[in-house]
Symmetry: C2
Subunit: 195 residues, 2 copies
């Protein structure tokens, strides 16, 4: 039987990762976020050579088609491709191993056919997100609005680049919640109630 997996896409500063952790604790299943998946990828010993030899990646049409396109020059670093492939492999393995929550990393698109997904997206208005990132990460030289815009742009670009889908487009998600208005607890309630 397919594993039941909650994927959470999120705007920067919307609290999506925190909600993922709350849900995971309440449901007693693990939560994998970007940090943890990167760590797993590191530990996995998967090397660039391994990825290069994987014909799945070498011949993937959208992969090769966009790899040298203008999108490439818009900010996605080329070694990101290797990291993506490794992370994709890790996420596919997680998707076969256990029920869990996965935050970000295009997990919704990667696991679409192999797991039983509840696809969630979390967003919030600028004010809520700005307050959250300043509280969480502090002020920086870069104005808050610019930090939000750039991070979201990178996420959207990353998602579109590797999945050929539009990030945050309603059609891809089962539940989309405004964490600014609803609050993180309530968002976690809803996700748990749907699991």
């Amino acid at each position: 039987m397919k594993k039941r997996i909650i994927t959470i896409g999120r705007e920067f500063g919307s609290g999506g990762r925190t909600i993922g952790k709350m849900v995971s604790e309440r449901l007693g299943i693990p939560c994998y976020d970007q940090e943890l998946i990167e760590k797993l990828a590191e530990e996995s010993g998967l090397s660039k050579d391994y990825i290069r030899d994987e014909s799945e990646y070498a011949s993937h049409s959208s992969w090769t088609a966009v790899a040298f396109s203008s999108v490439r020059s818009m900010g996605v670093p080329s070694n990101q491709d290797y990291l993506w492939a490794i992370q994709r492999k890790i996420i596919l393995q997680l998707g076969e191993k256990e029920n869990c929550v996965i935050v970000g990393r295009c997990a919704d698109a990667i696991l679409e056919d192999t797991a039983d997904l509840l696809k969630v997206f979390i967003h919030a208005d600028f004010e809520h997100r700005a307050a959250r990132i300043v509280e969480k990460y502090g002020e920086t030289e870069v104005p808050t609005e610019k930090r939000l815009r750039e991070k979201d742009k990178r996420r959207a670009l990353y998602y579109q680049f590797y999945t050929d889908l539009e990030w945050g487009k309603m059609d891809h998600y089962h539940v989309i919640l405004d964490s600014g208005v609803l609050g993180l607890e309530k968002c976690a309630d809803i996700i748990c109630s749907l699991y």
Copy 2:
């Protein structure tokens, strides 16, 4: 104190109106859908002259700016403007009168500043919506896919024309639910739990 109002936008065939009625019954508050609002507008005795004399409409910038634009020639009938103005007035009155559910009619945009809103949008994939409209309204000479596309296009155009906002865009809504995957009952559960 502002009235607490649930607005439900929806793709054609997604069951948004049915969900609105379920929510209204469970919460014991009235539900106003397109049909009922049109009936109220008819009964209200508001005439074209009344609307024409209302300076709010006569001088409304987005109103006059787009009234003769290319959007106008794309399918919004000109007497729709009067109907819109009357319905807008009715919705503003409802928003001051009582807690309720309002389905469609741009109520979310109309009541943004005057009521305490829970803004919901319901969508579903093509297959679920097609099955639903055939079951509900029967087959017609027009292919199902075309019926869905045209109705959604009209709704999107109507919404954008009168509100200057993009229909179904995530930012405008507090909760967006896929009724095809979640089911109507579960959607109603979530909305009630947030009220």
